[in-house]
């Protein structure tokens, strides 16, 4: 019952967000970058459903475009983290020994590292762009992925079919790819869902500190950051992007719960 409710609400929310994100690449009610200095901070009206921002841009259009940027950044971040993290986790868990220890040492150091410094450093090296954010967040999440993949690899590699694969002369790489990797997919999917949420949250937090995706491209995070001075005078500017982030995270969390229940039989409701 809860499983289906979670899946339903979470799925609907995510579909809505992703749908908006994709739509925004072809259509928004108005040009989200069009500045109108004479129409600054207009309250919500028929022409601008959620009003205009501090340089007169249409908030609804920017929210839509923001969904596009935020989701793209989050999705790419997850991709980077999962690709790097699984590679490290697989190698560490499969080889064990000193390679494992070295990799985990670096991993732990990265875990104790502040995201903001990583972001600032990478942004400086890569130039301020959404790619810098993707790289920074992707790297920041890699250790988490690596830990989890390593954990499941360690448990899988003790199973008979892995030993069998090695004993009949299959190479380590083949065995990893063919027998070990598939076993890590379920926990990875669950983790990737959470990561997507974290990435959206982290991008907005970085934007809030002035380090997010550079303008004029809107993201919910930099909209919220820009809205801050107008908290009292134009509260809609703060409410709308914050609510978008919260709803997306809710969707992600609910969907993640549903996935976990579905993929991990242990926690399935009895």
């Amino acid at each position: 019952m809860r499983l289906r409710l979670n899946a339903l609400i979470g799925g609907t929310l995510m579909a809505l967000v992703l749908g908006t994100a994709i739509t925004s690449y072809v259509w928004t009610p108005q040009n989200p970058l069009r500045i109108a200095m004479r129409a600054r901070l207009n309250a919500p009206s028929a022409a601008h459903w959620l009003g205009t921002d501090e340089v007169g841009r249409d908030v609804v259009s920017r929210l839509m475009a923001g969904a596009g940027t935020s989701c793209l950044v989050a999705a790419l971040t997850v991709l980077v983290a999962v690709a790097l993290g699984s590679a490290i986790g697989l190698v560490a868990g499969f080889t064990r020994g000193w390679v494992d220890r070295m990799l985990m040492l670096v991993n732990d150091a990265l875990l104790a590292f502040p995201g903001i410094l990583l972001a600032l450093g990478l942004l400086a090296v890569m130039g301020p762009s959404q790619w810098g954010i993707v790289a920074a967040l992707g790297l920041a999440y890699t250790p988490t992925v690596a830990r989890i993949v390593r954990g499941s690899v360690l448990s899988i590699r003790e199973r008979e079919f892995v030993e069998a694969s090695v004993s009949i002369g299959n190479s380590a790489a083949y065995t990893m790819w063919r027998h070990v990797l598939p076993g890590t997919v379920s926990p990875l999917i669950v983790l990737a869902t959470s990561l997507f949420g974290w990435a959206i949250l982290a991008e907005s937090a970085l934007s809030f500190l002035g380090l997010g995706v550079p303008p004029p491209a809107p993201t919910w995070g930099n909209m919220l950051a820009a809205a801050r001075p107008y908290l009292e005078t134009a509260v809609w500017l703060s409410l709308a992007p914050g609510a978008c982030i919260a709803l997306t995270l809710l969707g992600v969390n609910l969907l993640g719960d549903a996935l976990r229940d579905h993929l991990d039989p242990r926690s399935r409701p009895q």
Partner: protein, 516 residues
């Protein structure tokens, strides 16, 4: 009943502490902590603002940024322009009660000229920067000090008066300990340094023995009265929080009001906002060595594509006026000849672009979020230039990174704000120079450089004016940068505060300020 009497008692208790509350310090916000208590040493704008309450120099800048006597009663210059004789005012005492004599002045000057002090303005006075070179300092008697220069320098007095030099503040030798280490400034200002809680506040205390000049407040000079027994500069780095603190009555004066907060603050009855154009310059810098922008036609097209009056009104309303000249509008040398700017002309811009063979290549513009108006200018310019088919891409950086790119000249265009230059020669020196040795300079035109050099030695006012008008003509023809406006200096304060007045230097002065 019990509760009532308890409340009544509480109210009485609250009332009884009211007189004490009236003595609470006047609180003014600072957006960052001061760097040190050494005038002109490890400093920044906020440090200068605080220090100008504590120390005073021989001369100080007046309301129009011209140097006038401060601790000196008068300044005589020898006919050859080499020797400056300062006669000290009588009756001036230091915060520790010691009288001001030429000995302390000489001690202070020697300390500043010692490289170990790391005085910011040393290069300007030892000949390194070419501004002036002091060859001798002497104290013929207890009330006189003479300074001798190697060559006549039109900027000597205004340099030693500069707030970023700590106004060359005269200190009592007890400002440093027996080991030569800095202790705290023992100066002659209307306030003395009280408690400094790093990251939280700096408190100043009224100097009861202050000897004020007669008359009204005049820049950093003129009459100064410490009306409040204590001043507290409260450090609030976040502008929204600073505004909230003002509205909640947690601070009395906001020394730095970011423009986005203005409409809201102005709409309030319990708060007043006042503005005066500062001498800081906001401009779009164009890298004249860039493969694309080295073509003057593209630079001119960019200038023509902008509707600067619209941009300024959009961002700043009526608080400042567009200004195309490197000289700030408050400068006495910014004449009518420097008032014009070609109106926006998209067709002409497109024509120039076509001539230059521009085919929509991306032009990168660096900007930052630390200065909201600089950022808004970049965003607006980007949108306006797009109308002429110029494609600008913004790169938003943190301020330190942008400064690094500026210092290395590593940019195509950047939206930038210069700190105030208080002399017209310096306004031009700030943007011009040989890029090979000083990559931060934007404009390298030999003719202009020669004119600027001349403006530093010429003392005749009309002749100087002619030089600046000519410089302006060259500047507008070559478009090495597009100057937009002079950032207004805003001060906001609560309704019960009297006497706050912004001015062109941008530094908030809290003497002659009181709270009802």
């Amino acid at each position: 009943m019990k509760i009532h009497s308890f409340l009544a008692g509480f109210a009485a208790a609250a009332l009884s502490i009211l007189p004490a509350a009236a003595q609470a310090p006047l609180r003014a916000s600072l957006n960052s902590d001061i760097r040190s208590t050494q005038p002109g040493g490890n400093r920044d704008f906020n440090t200068d603002t605080v220090m100008m309450h504590v120390v005073e120099g021989l001369v100080a800048l007046n309301e129009r940024a011209a140097p006038v006597p401060m601790l000196a009663e008068k300044v005589d210059v020898s006919p050859d322009g080499l020797t400056y004789s300062f006669t000290l005012r009588q009756g001036v005492t230091f915060h520790n009660g010691a009288p001001l004599t030429s000995a302390e002045v000489l001690w202070s000057l020697r300390r500043y000229m010692d490289p170990a002090t790391q005085w910011r303005c040393l290069p300007d006075l030892n000949g390194r920067s070419g501004l002036a070179k002091i060859t001798d300092m002497a104290a013929p008697d207890a009330r006189s000090v003479t300074i001798t220069l190697e060559k006549p320098a039109a900027l000597f007095l205004s340099t030693i008066a500069r707030p970023d030099c700590g106004s060359t503040g005269i200190l009592h030798p007890s400002s440093v300990g027996a080991d030569g280490a800095w202790v705290k400034p023992v100066g002659t200002g209307p306030y003395s340094l009280g408690e400094w809680r790093r990251g939280q506040y700096v408190e100043l205390e009224r100097f009861e023995g202050y000897a004020s000049l007669p008359g009204e407040r005049d820049g950093f000079a003129g009459g100064k009265r410490a009306l409040m027994p204590r001043l507290r500069f409260v450090i609030i780095p976040d502008s929204s929080a600073a505004k909230a603190a003002l509205l909640a009555g947690n601070v009395d004066v906001l020394t730095d009001v970011p423009s986005p907060e203005l409409p809201d603050l102005r709409a309030r009855r319990d708060v007043s906002v006042v503005a005066a154009p500062s001498m800081g310059v906001t401009a779009l810098l164009l890298q004249t060595r860039d493969p694309l922008l080295k073509d003057e036609r593209i630079r001119r097209a960019l200038a023509l594509s902008l509707d600067v009056p619209e941009l300024v009104t959009g961002i700043l309303g009526q608080d400042t006026q567009p200004n195309a000249s490197p000289l700030p509008s408050a400068s006495p040398y910014r004449s009518q000849a420097q008032a014009g700017r070609p109106a926006r002309d998209i067709a002409a811009a497109k024509r120039l672009l076509a001539e230059a063979g521009y085919r929509g290549q991306t032009i990168r513009m660096i900007t930052n979020r630390r200065y909201p108006n600089v950022y808004d200018s970049a965003v607006t310019a980007q949108a306006m230039a797009a109308d002429a088919g110029i494609k600008i891409e913004l790169e938003v950086m943190d301020w330190a990174t942008q400064l690094d790119r500026y210092t290395r000249g590593d940019y195509q265009t950047m939206s930038f704000i210069y700190s105030p230059r208080l002399d017209p020669s310096l306004s031009y020196e700030m943007i011009s120079g040989p890029k090979d040795t000083q990559p931060r300079k934007v404009w390298e035109d030999p003719q202009a450089l020669a004119l600027i050099q001349r403006s530093m030695s010429v003392t005749d006012q009309a002749e100087r004016q002619a030089i600046f008008d000519e410089l302006y003509r060259l500047f507008m023809a070559q478009v090495p940068m597009i100057i937009l406006y002079n950032q207004p200096d805003y001060v906001a304060f609560r309704q019960n505060v009297r006497g706050v007045q912004p001015w062109s230097s941008g530094q908030t002065r809290l003497w002659n300020v009181s709270r009802d």
